[in-house]
């Protein structure tokens, strides 16, 4: 049977990117951050709380609540509700679902929110019971958390493809430079190569600046019809194409690629653009090696060529290939599930011309990539979306 061509997103658009400023630790619960995100969405859009009829939520620290508990906690009456526990892929997946809901009329305005709090011990609590496989087969082996898992992937990748610490360093330093222009970044000082290379070892070959800093915060955006956005007078972006894949390449002995590799062709075909048209890339940068894999698997270079690609480009906002223009999680901080939203809200700002300090000149097309959930030895969820401005 011939596969039916995917329907595009003709009617629904994305608007009102919101960031609730990050803090290292917070005494508040995740609910507090979600409330602040929703409030900002309403204030900035001019919508009333009762206009909001859809919610798509990602949060690790909401327990014992889920999204439905939040409706009562925050007094929301909705006709469409989704909860996406898929970490760094959360925003892309929320976007895909919300666009369809609005396009089909199941909801008229959907708030997509990624938010988490961070108490002094909450990260550890999340880790040990992250998944059954983690609890049984990863955590008891030194309890290094994601640092340990990505150290293993990084060590393998470096040996297999000849990546050097300096290659990852160049990416981290460029992101830090971007972060200095982004008001919400928790890291406010430039990073030098020497500081990067000499930093305290965490899990070899990873050192301090290869690892994100857990913090508390929220990111959010709205999905609504184009007509509604025009009525409200809010700047909006169009979504040209999206993809998601879960547990791709299960036979690979270790992760060197993700599901993007299976869908990139269809993604660009659906978007009707080429790689050369992409003005900026927002990767899910929980660790630099994953940014490298995303560059490769999304087709900006071949497998194993990211180190050379990084060497041959400048990755800052004004560079030849701007990556993670807000600074990414490595320089802004990782506010739990909001980390999966950071690239999306920044991309919406870029294509709607509201990025201010971090604006890539004349940015028309942006690619946002999501990656999440080290269930055992590899990240399982991969997603991507290509965004454009309302006129591009």
């Amino acid at each position: 049977m011939r596969q039916r061509r995917r329907t595009g997103y003709e009617n629904a658009v994305v608007a009102v990117p919101v960031t609730v400023p990050y803090v290292r630790y917070s005494p508040h619960g995740a609910h507090w951050f979600i409330a602040h995100a929703l409030r900002a969405l309403l204030e900035r859009s001019g919508l009333a709380k009762s206009d909001l009829d859809g919610l798509c939520l990602s949060s690790f620290t909401l327990a014992p609540d889920t999204a439905v508990g939040l409706t009562q906690h925050l007094g929301l009456s909705l006709r469409w509700l989704d909860h996406i526990p898929m970490g760094g892929a959360g925003a892309v997946l929320a976007l895909r679902r919300a666009l369809r809901a609005v396009d089909c009329g199941d909801a008229s305005v959907v708030a997509c929110v990624g938010a988490d709090t961070n108490h002094s011990d909450s990260f550890r609590t999340t880790l040990g019971s992250f998944s059954q496989f983690t609890q049984d087969a990863v955590y008891p082996y030194g309890a290094g958390g994601p640092n340990a898992s990505f150290a293993l992937l990084t060590a393998y990748y470096m040996r297999a493809f000849g990546a050097r610490r300096e290659d990852f360093g160049k990416l981290c330093i460029a992101q830090r430079e971007n972060a200095l222009r982004y008001p919400h970044a928790l890291f406010r000082k430039p990073l030098t190569m020497q500081q990067y290379l000499d930093a305290r070892p965490i899990a070899e070959p990873l050192r301090l600046f290869d690892c994100v800093m857990p913090c508390a915060g929220a990111e959010a955006f709205l999905v609504m019809s184009r007509a509604r956005a025009q009525d409200l007078g809010v700047a909006f972006g169009r979504v040209l194409a999206t993809m998601e894949r879960h547990n791709s390449f299960p036979e690979d002995p270790i992760q060197t690629r993700g599901g993007w590799a299976l869908d990139r062709e269809e993604l660009f075909t659906q978007a009707g653009i080429t790689h050369r048209d992409v003005d900026f890339l927002q990767t899910y940068d929980d660790y630099p090696v994953m940014s490298a894999m995303q560059m490769e698997d999304l087709g900006f270079c071949g497998k194993g060529e990211a180190p050379e690609f990084i060497r041959s480009h400048t990755l800052t906002i004004d560079g030849t290939f701007p990556v993670n223009t807000s600074g990414g999680q490595l320089s802004v901080g990782q506010a739990g599930a909001a980390g999966g939203y950071l690239g999306m809200t920044e991309a919406i700002r870029q294509v709607t011309g509201t990025a201010e300090g971090t604006a890539v000149p004349d940015a028309r097309f942006g690619l946002v990539s999501g990656f999440g959930m080290i269930n055992y030895d590899r990240g399982l969820c991969c997603g991507a979306a290509i965004l454009a401005g309302s006129r591009a």
Binding site: F123, R124, L127, G128, S129, Q132, F133, Q135, D136, A137, V138, Y139, P140, Y141, G142, A143, G144, G145, N147, A148, A151, L152, L153, A155, Y156, R159, R200, P201, I202, A203, E204, P205, L206, P250, P253, I254, Y376, D377
Partner: protein, 177 residues
């Protein structure tokens, strides 16, 4: 910042303090078979009754054919250490007191990839290894990579690696004198 409290000179945490922080003990019900075999000094993994797929981590059903009947069967543990890391940071007090800690990923000849402790004396990745299963201080199974030539069938296996010797010591033995 105020002065960081220092441990008194000469005092060690001692067996009692260490016992207060055992290694992580929580496991799923599916993982019990691993510990049952480890108690007998054996490495056993789940094998699907229908398609014969060997799998790890422990599951409730076969990842290949979805058959719900899985049998624990002895495995040679031979495989390749494909990558490794040395942890300088841990979220658990047990390991935090004993850093640095070496772990790795081993692709077993029988199929699955396992995350494992790596004993001193194992060469740098990549290299051939043999995985053995022992009970750890929490009474749970611990997988440990040994050099491949070692058969892994004696109590002396962990000699030369004090950390793993301690991790796999039977709780009754108390602290070394």
């Amino acid at each position: 910042m105020s002065e960081v409290p220092q441990r008194p000179q000469g005092a060690s945490p001692g067996p009692d303090a260490r016992a207060a922080h055992p290694p992580p003990a929580e496991r799923s019900r599916a993982a019990l078979g691993l510990a049952a075999a480890a108690a007998l000094g054996r490495l056993e993994l789940q094998v699907c009754s229908e398609c014969g797929a060997v799998q790890y981590p422990p599951r409730e059903a076969c990842h290949r054919c979805l058959c719900g009947e899985l049998k624990w069967q002895p495995q040679s543990g031979q495989g390749e250490l494909i990558c490794e890391t040395t942890l300088h940071h841990s979220y658990e007090p047990y390991f935090r007191d004993r850093l640095p800690w070496r772990i790795g990923m081993v692709r077993l000849d029988c199929g699955p990839t396992v995350i494992t402790h790596v004993r001193a004396g194992v060469s740098c990745a990549p290299c051939r290894v043999r995985i053995v299963a022992r009970l750890d201080q929490a009474g749970q199974a611990a997988l440990i990579a040994l050099p491949e030539r070692e058969t892994g069938d004696g109590a002396a296996d962990m000699a030369g690696d004090p950390r793993l010797q301690e991790l796999t010591r039977e709780p009754d033995h108390g602290a070394p004198q």
